[in-house]
């Protein structure tokens, strides 16, 4: 419980910090400027910072260029394509947010009529809540918005169980593999290394076999079964990954805790786990990614009602005509939660050693 509460507090702090960051950076800038002018801070220091920041920014922009290109395709009016036989334009001539609006669809909270039946009588008291219209895309000329929200819900209900299940399976295993000697240990480790490749390149025959089994057990078209499958395939890789992080924690910390009289399970939860938050957060990100972006198996196993986002994204293409604008908008919106998850997880990745807590 306290773990969850601490996570919630930290999230709140993060949100607050993000919101006030512009103010914060303005203040820092002012301080530095004053320092330079008054001669306290040698001008080289802030210049180095500015130079480094600009350099890093340039690097990031170059690397992200294809994403920018996708973005320009998304905001050009329909009919855009990533191929354009004219010259390259840095910014499209008629930008329009229509594709994004199409992706998001109507954000309407329908009004509800809540009726309270008075017991022992035939009367009822009725409250009606108003119909709140946050966004009605018909106003912007978008008919037939996409099913993004529906797919989003499906994806969430697949990704979250995947992460929870995977964490439960992976964390104890990684701890044991890192710190304990037991029979079969090496064999399991080497076996897992090999198994990380399973599901990757094994192709069609695997898919056919998998589908056949699922149908036998009546599990096809079940999101939970899919989540369990994702968690299962994530086990070898993530166990290994977490193990390598845990290997980096010196045993002396644990020994110190034991000397202080802590029982073994407390050693784990209060010494090892906090020190391996970096690894835990990384595993969290990767398992979430698996559940969120996997496409091939999802498409084979799920029926149309349960389609997750990647499958929905692919349903947009037909054989020849790819509606690039909408496709790109959908894809970018699809990728945004990953960014948020990573942003959120960074907090923990930066946990690191409790001594001299490093600022990332």
């Amino acid at each position: 419980m306290s773990l969850i509460r601490s996570i919630l507090t930290r999230t709140k702090e993060d949100a607050v910090r993000v919101a006030t960051s512009p103010i914060e950076s303005a203040r820092v800038a002012k301080y530095t400027a004053e320092g330079v002018l008054s001669g306290d801070i040698p001008p080289r220091e802030p210049l180095k910072t500015v130079g480094a920041t600009l350099g890093a920014l340039a690097l990031v922009l170059v690397v992200l260029f294809p994403i920018y290109w996708i973005f320009t395709a998304a905001i050009s009016s329909t009919g855009g394509s990533i191929y354009s036989s004219g010259d390259f334009q840095l910014f499209p001539s008629n930008p329009s947010m229509q594709s994004f609006l199409w992706v998001v669809g109507d954000l309407i909270v329908p009004g509800y009529a809540i009726s309270l039946n008075l017991p022992l009588s035939d009367l009822a008291v009725v409250f009606t809540t108003p119909r709140v219209e946050l966004l009605d895309v018909a106003d912007y000329g978008v008919t037939n918005p996409s099913n993004f929200k529906h797919f989003l819900w499906n994806s969430l209900t697949v990704a979250i169980p995947t992460v929870i299940l995977a964490m439960c399976l992976v964390v104890p295993a990684a701890y044991a593999l890192s710190r304990r000697e037991f029979i079969f240990r090496r064999k399991i480790l080497f076996g897992y290394i090999l198994l990380t490749q399973v599901g990757g390149g094994l192709g069609i025959a695997l898919l056919i076999g998998l589908y056949a089994i699922y149908v036998q057990f009546g599990l096809n078209d079940s999101k939970l079964a899919l989540a369990v499958y994702y968690a299962a395939t994530a086990v070898p890789f993530n166990t290994w990954l977490l193990k390598t992080y845990m290997d980096g924690i010196p045993v002396s910390y644990e020994e110190a805790a034991v000397v202080d009289g802590a029982p073994p399970w407390r050693v784990v939860t209060e010494v090892v786990l906090p020190l391996s938050t970096a690894g835990l957060a990384t595993v969290f990100v990767f398992t979430f990614l698996t559940g969120w972006t996997e496409f091939v198996v999802a498409q084979t196993l799920l029926g149309t009602e349960n389609y997750t986002l990647p499958v929905g994204l692919y349903a947009l293409i037909d054989e020849y005509t790819i509606p690039w604008a909408r496709f790109s908008a959908f894809a970018l919106t699809f990728a945004t939660p990953i960014m948020l998850v990573y942003l959120f997880a960074q907090r923990y990745i930066e946990g690191g050693l409790s001594f001299g807590g490093i600022e990332g």
């Binding site: 394509s81 990533i82 329908p110 017991p119 029926g303 349903a315």
Partner: protein, 430 residues
């Protein structure tokens, strides 16, 4: 937790539970939706669908139908299904599937497939051989002769009727009316125009033509060549002189005027941006052109010297799957729907007007009620031959694709490329 707390919590829980039983929540209807509903009701009763769709007797059934349609086309399909549901005792539920081939391949053998699905006819042979389809010639309530010959042939495999056709498609010539005055009759005329206009330094191209076996089939078969002819000797015609001549003709006459990337995207974009004089493409292309505001017209393919273009045509059909094997209500429902869909002239005309779909009902071919572009494509269909649906074709497509692309890239001569392909195909046929 002391007793007072516990009692308090119990009390709260109890009240909530009690109230919950009495509370009902109902979503308010969207005030605008009611108005729309009443408007829609009148459309369905227009019905000129009538005489030949005899209603079958029997219990009401539910059937699943699968299709793959562009986002823009789905509402029309969904409307059609709704119309059928309103008029018939059956209930049809439709799903848009993004990878039809893969999905049907895995679902049908596992018993999870639909009653019927909509696809081009090229899978008829392959799927029949795999046992995915079922012959319904005994239960059919419609006559096959109301369709064009090509369409009627396409839905049969070894005498079994495994589906019903509802549309045809092939590639035709599209030209930009701002650049080209009138449709060229011969390839030489066309080349003359392209020669004038082609200027890659300034981003102008003569022709935007995606290269794959289906698109180029017109020329490969123009001089008497063929891909597969079960009655001929040799059955495999890809390395025959006439086919080789066709490929050489294609490379020599068209390649110099096209952008250097031969896949669909760049070729289609060149014309769609207004930077090419001609394009060779199918009816699906027109909505993109409409969106981009290009002034175009469609014509049938120009004749090469000494030959006549024979493109492969695809017949879109509703397949009868293994799920319709037994005479269950679901099978009847599926069949009723398919029969209604393919014989409804109103529907066919509406689709022709909205989506450029080429009808295969004899009555409608060449009809004046069809829009111009559809008429032109319809003529192109007349020039062509249906893709062979024999399972042997499945082994031909990949090798041909390599041979054609290699010839276009200039890495090999058409003759040797086709020879290699023929050898490979023969190997794989064994």
């Amino acid at each position: 937790m002391d007793r007072r707390e516990a009692l308090k919590r119990l009390g709260v829980a109890g009240t909530v539970a009690g109230l919950a039983g009495c509370v009902g929540v109902q979503e308010q209807d969207d005030p605008t939706e009611g108005g729309g509903g009443s408007g829609g009701g009148s459309d369905g009763s227009d019905g000129s669908d009538d005489s030949d769709s005899t209603t079958t007797s029997g219990p009401a059934g539910e059937a699943k139908v699968w299709y793959t349609l562009a986002q823009a086309e789905r509402p029309a399909r969904e409307d059609a299904i709704e119309e059928f549901n309103d008029e018939s005792r059956h209930t049809i539920s439709g799903s848009n599937i993004s990878d039809m081939v893969k999905k049907t391949t895995s679902a049908i053998p596992a018993g999870q497939g639909p009653e019927t699905f909509d696809w081009a006819h090229d899978k008829v042979g392959d799927y029949s051989q795999r046992g995915f389809l079922t012959d319904r010639s005994d239960e059919l309530n419609v006559e096959l002769d109301q369709f064009t010959d090509a369409a009627a042939d396409a839905v049969q495999y070894k005498g079994d009727v495994v589906g019903l056709p509802h549309g045809a498609e092939t590639v035709g010539l599209v030209y930009n009316t701002d650049i080209v005055d009138e449709a060229p009759e011969t390839v030489d005329d066309m080349v003359a125009v392209m020669e004038d206009y082609h200027d890659p330094e300034n981003g102008k191209y003569g022709l935007g033509y995606p290269i794959n076996s289906y698109f180029v089939s017109a020329w490969l078969q123009a001089f008497g060549g063929y891909f597969l002819d079960l009655d001929a000797d040799p059955q495999l015609g890809v390395a025959e002189d006439e086919t080789v001549k066709g490929l050489e003709f294609l490379v020599n006459n068209f390649k110099p005027y096209m952008p250097k990337d031969f896949s669909y995207g760049p070729q289609a974009t060149a014309f769609a941006d207004g930077n090419a004089a001609f394009a060779i493409n199918g009816p699906w292309y027109l909505s993109t052109l409409n969106d981009k505001g290009v002034n175009y017209e469609v014509a049938k393919l120009p004749k090469p010297e000494g030959g006549s273009p024979r493109p492969f045509t695809g017949i879109s059909m509703w397949y009868f799957t293994k799920g319709m094997d037994e005479d269950t209500p679901a099978a009847t429902a599926g069949q009723d729907f398919v029969e209604w869909y393919v014989t409804d002239e109103e529907l066919a005309l509406q689709l022709a007007n909205d989506k450029g779909l080429i009808p295969v009902l004899d009555n409608l071919v060449g009809s004046d009620e069809l829009p111009d572009s559809v008429q032109a494509f319809s003529q192109a269909v007349g020039q062509g031959i249906p893709m062979p649906s024999d399972p042997k074709m499945a082994k031909i497509w990949p090798s041909m694709k390599t041979a054609i692309i290699e010839s276009f890239n200039g890495n090999t001569e058409p003759e040797s490329a086709l020879q290699t392909a023929a050898e490979e195909i023969r190997d794989n046929w064994d």
